[in-house]
């Protein structure tokens, strides 16, 4: 039907969702490596009391960059950029995303933003006030270098990319579903990404406003966060956490989505309480917008406010528990095959329950005030972010490996990698609860020997090393399998969704014939798939006049029109280059040069829209 352009130029100008997904995958893996090295350096420094592997300034930059990297340049782009891009069109029976050129743009902007902050780090001016970057510590008075400019502009830049991705997912899922895929037949994976995308779309502006204020305060002498001139330091925190708490759920909801794909595949059973799980995925993000001040319990804000936010936070338990019971009861009532992906998902459920229980403890306001800024908090959010968000990413890497590469991974080393990572992460993060309760503050670069924290810290560092071994085994397995693994059939797991109905790896056009769908588990509707094959043999419903795509109605998934999609375009990468140039010179306060890059970006936009799309 059509083929992607080969060679480097083909990759630079591609608008194919699978290629962009792979670009995201490799780039985010590189950032994962960087964030991991930072974490190991931090653990090396903390392994002994009074250690001097890292100085305080380097330590500040490394822990700030570790948090920022793992959140903004690994987990979000890995789930949305890589998994979402590659899989959502396949699951809804589409041939691409709704805005293929914007999709390419979001990748190149993402890459540019990552290079920008890492340039800062390599120049010795990386962000150094933590990922939540509280003022006044981050104000010009106390942080006079360019470190915070790299933070503010890097995140603002990254936010543009994430907003574009989120908008693209929403429109894709609402508009490009295969005929028959009404709203109640959308796979739970896609519901999860829909929830995360709405979260990003409405949460990121709050961060953007905050970052703009910070930049103006630091560089144009404004006073948003300066109490001596009518400003408020709490304004930073309110705006940050109004974004930051939904962000936590944006990190984890796609992981829920991965779990709801893998559990049915390895139990050969449909998810229990499908509509409740779909609603719970959306509700988690929705409630997430009303809980931000629970990050500010130690700020001295009025007690009545604290109680409201404690109550709202307790509400998050309801949709979370619905999902935990839905996953576990599906597992118990099915016939589970304990392959590597399912092992990682079971690990995820355990971590989510433990991290969730410590999360519920934070609802008790006095308890939070006691443990704020201690390692107890670090333990809690690493159980959630590593255990509950990254474990499903690992599960997904194994689960979709045969689909993406056309080869099977090796099962036994896969299972061993799970056990090593599972034990390593528990040894790494569990003692943090204890040292936190013993009073060890987070973000200190060293500690005295007589505090009784040394043995726990050493155990954590050893746990970190074990986790590293497990992760290396995981990627080693995937690399060797990619070269020498046995060839994968189209559907090795008897999977429930449409990506398993097409060859592995998928052809450029995904679906030779547009599938017709009559349930949320279309690959298990054998008669439907047989009908697709019959239509393919008869040449009916092919849409084989180039890059064509069916558009369907919002609620019922009835086909209404056929649109022609762009094939490849040089404009996304050119526009991203202009925008990257603008952000890079803004760091150095060269506003005139930034304006020149802005004009270049406008020219790129005119070029982008020169060729009119036909319908």
């Amino acid at each position: 039907m059509w083929a992607e352009r080969p060679g480097l130029l083909g990759w630079l100008t591609t608008t194919d969702h699978k290629r962009i997904g792979l670009l995201y995958f490799w780039t985010t893996l590189a950032f994962f490596g960087a964030g991991g090295v930072e974490a190991l350096l931090l653990r090396a420094q903390l392994a002994r009391a009074n250690n001097d592997v890292l100085g305080p300034d380097t330590y500040d930059q490394l822990f700030s960059m570790h948090g920022l990297t793992m959140i903004f340049w690994f987990i979000i782009p890995m789930t949305t950029g890589a998994f979402g891009n590659y899989l959502i069109p396949l699951m809804i029976g589409a041939r691409d995303m709704a805005f293929p050129k914007l999709n390419a743009l979001s990748f190149w902007l993402f890459l540019g933003s990552g290079l920008l902050v890492y340039t800062g780090l390599f120049l010795g001016s990386g962000p150094n006030a933590g990922w939540f970057d509280y003022v006044p510590l981050a104000s010009r008075l106390y942080d006079p270098g360019r470190n915070i400019e790299f933070y503010a502009l890097g995140l603002l830049f990254n936010g543009i990319s994430s907003t574009i991705t989120a908008a693209n997912f929403i429109v894709t899922i609402l508009r490009l579903r295969a005929p028959g895929m009404s709203f109640n037949r959308i796979p739970l994976f896609c519901f999860a990404f829909l929830a995360a995308s709405f979260g990003l779309l409405f949460a990121l502006p709050s961060l953007s406003v905050d970052l703009i204020f910070l930049f103006l305060d630091r560089n144009l002498g404004m006073h948003f966060f300066d109490p001596s001139h009518g400003g408020s330091t709490l304004l930073w925190q309110h705006l940050f956490w109004f974004f930051g708490h939904p962000e936590v759920y944006i990190l984890i909801v796609p992981a829920f989505g991965i779990a709801t794909e893998i559990i049915p595949a390895f139990t050969q059973r449909k998810m229990i309480a499908f509509p409740l799980v779909a609603i719970a995925e959306l509700l988690v993000v929705f409630i997430g917008f009303g809980v931000w001040a629970h990050h500010m319990f130690a700020d001295g804000i009025p007690a009545v406010t604290l109680v409201f936010f404690a109550g709202a936070t307790a509400m998050v338990v309801i949709p979370s528990t619905i999902q935990v019971f839905a996953w576990s009861s599906t597992l118990f009532t099915g016939r589970p095959r304990f392959n590597t992906p399912l092992l990682f998902i079971i690990g995820f459920i355990l971590f989510f329950v433990i991290g969730g229980l410590t999360g519920v403890m934070f609802v008790a306001i006095p308890f939070t005030q006691q443990v704020t800024d201690t390692y107890f908090v670090v333990a809690h959010f690493h159980y959630i972010i590593f255990g509950a968000a990254v474990f499903p990413i690992f599960a997904g890497m194994y689960y979709w490996f045969p689909k993406v590469t056309g080869r099977m991974y090796f099962e036994r080393p896969g299972q061993i990698s799970f056990w090593i990572i599972f034990l390593g992460t528990n040894l790494l993060f569990f003692p943090m609860h204890i040292v936190g309760l013993l009073g060890m503050p987070r973000r200190v670069y060293t500690y005295p020997g007589e505090m009784g924290w040394t043995a726990y810290n050493l155990a954590e560092s050893v746990g970190g090393a074990i986790t590293l071994v497990g992760i290396l085994l995981l990627f080693g397995n995937l690399v060797v399998s990619y070269r020498r693994g046995p060839l994968a059939p189209p559907d090795p797991w008897h999977g429930p969704t449409l990506e398993w109905s097409i060859p592995s790896p998928p052809p450029e056009y995904n679906f030779a014939v547009i599938p017709h769908v009559s349930s949320a588990y279309p690959n298990w509707d054998l008669a439907d798939r047989e009908a697709d094959r019959r239509r393919l043999a008869e040449g009916v419903g092919m849409l084989d006049h180039g890059h064509e795509q069916v558009v369907s109605t919002l609620a019922d998934g009835e086909p209404v029109e056929i649109v022609r999609m762009p094939h490849s375009s040089p404009w996304p990468i050119l526009l991203a280059l202009a925008v990257s140039g603008a952000f890079a010179v803004l760091v150095t306060e060269k506003y005139g040069v930034a304006a020149v890059f802005g004009v270049l970006a406008l020219f790129a936009l005119v070029g982008w829209h020169w060729q009119e799309e036909e319908s």
Partner: protein
């Protein structure tokens, strides 16, 4: 398969409309957070505006607000003319809207410069949020002007399906900017009302 194969010919909003809806959603959230910040700062301060900074002008901004909101009418008429295939009318209404919007923008830039001659954004948090909020709103008007000019240039070559969709999407953008301008103006004027 052709479009005729579809039994149901229901209307579905165009991709351009969806894209613009996403953009407007994101920008509305941006302004909501800025307006929220305005009131958070306001309630932290006893005097708003602080001593030494004049109260915001009322009459001129309200008149200008009325003018920009009124441009929704020619935008709407341009879309209606486009749907009816009346190229000349669509271009005329779009041009009318552009002229009025440009006048509005020029007046606002003049007012902004006039304010800057009286007090600086670095004087107080009031001035910081005042100039930032107004500046963000004016920047969105400027973007709309660029959209208009781009579309008028395209329409020299007549209608295509693509340009018609662009016309409705740009009109949608302007309705949103007009509502945002309403919210921003009332926020900025609130100390004097």
């Amino acid at each position: 398969m052709t479009t005729a194969d579809f039994a149901v010919a229901r209307r579905s909003p165009s991709k351009a409309w969806w894209g613009m809806a996403m953009f407007v959603a994101s920008e509305s959230a941006l302004f909501a957070m800025m307006i929220g910040s305005y009131f958070l700062l306001r309630f932290k301060n006893l005097h708003w505006p602080p001593h030494g900074i004049p109260e915001p002008k009322v009459v001129v901004p309200l008149v200008l607000l009325g003018v920009i909101v009124a441009t929704s009418a020619p935008m709407h008429l341009a879309v209606a003319a486009g749907r009816a295939g009346q190229l000349g009318r669509a271009r005329a209404f779009l041009l009318l809207a552009l002229v009025v919007q440009s006048g509005y923008f020029a007046m606002q830039v003049h007012e902004y410069a006039d304010d800057l001659s009286r007090f600086q954004p670095s004087e107080h948090a009031y001035a910081s949020i005042y100039y930032t909020l107004l500046g963000a709103d004016h920047a969105h008007v400027a973007l709309g002007l660029l959209f208009d000019v781009w579309l008028l240039t395209k329409l020299i070559g007549g209608f295509t399906a693509y340009r018609l969709k662009a016309l409705s999407a740009i009109a949608f953008y302007w309705y949103a900017v007009n509502v945002i301008t309403l919210a921003v103006t009332l926020t900025i004027l609130s100390p004097a009302l």
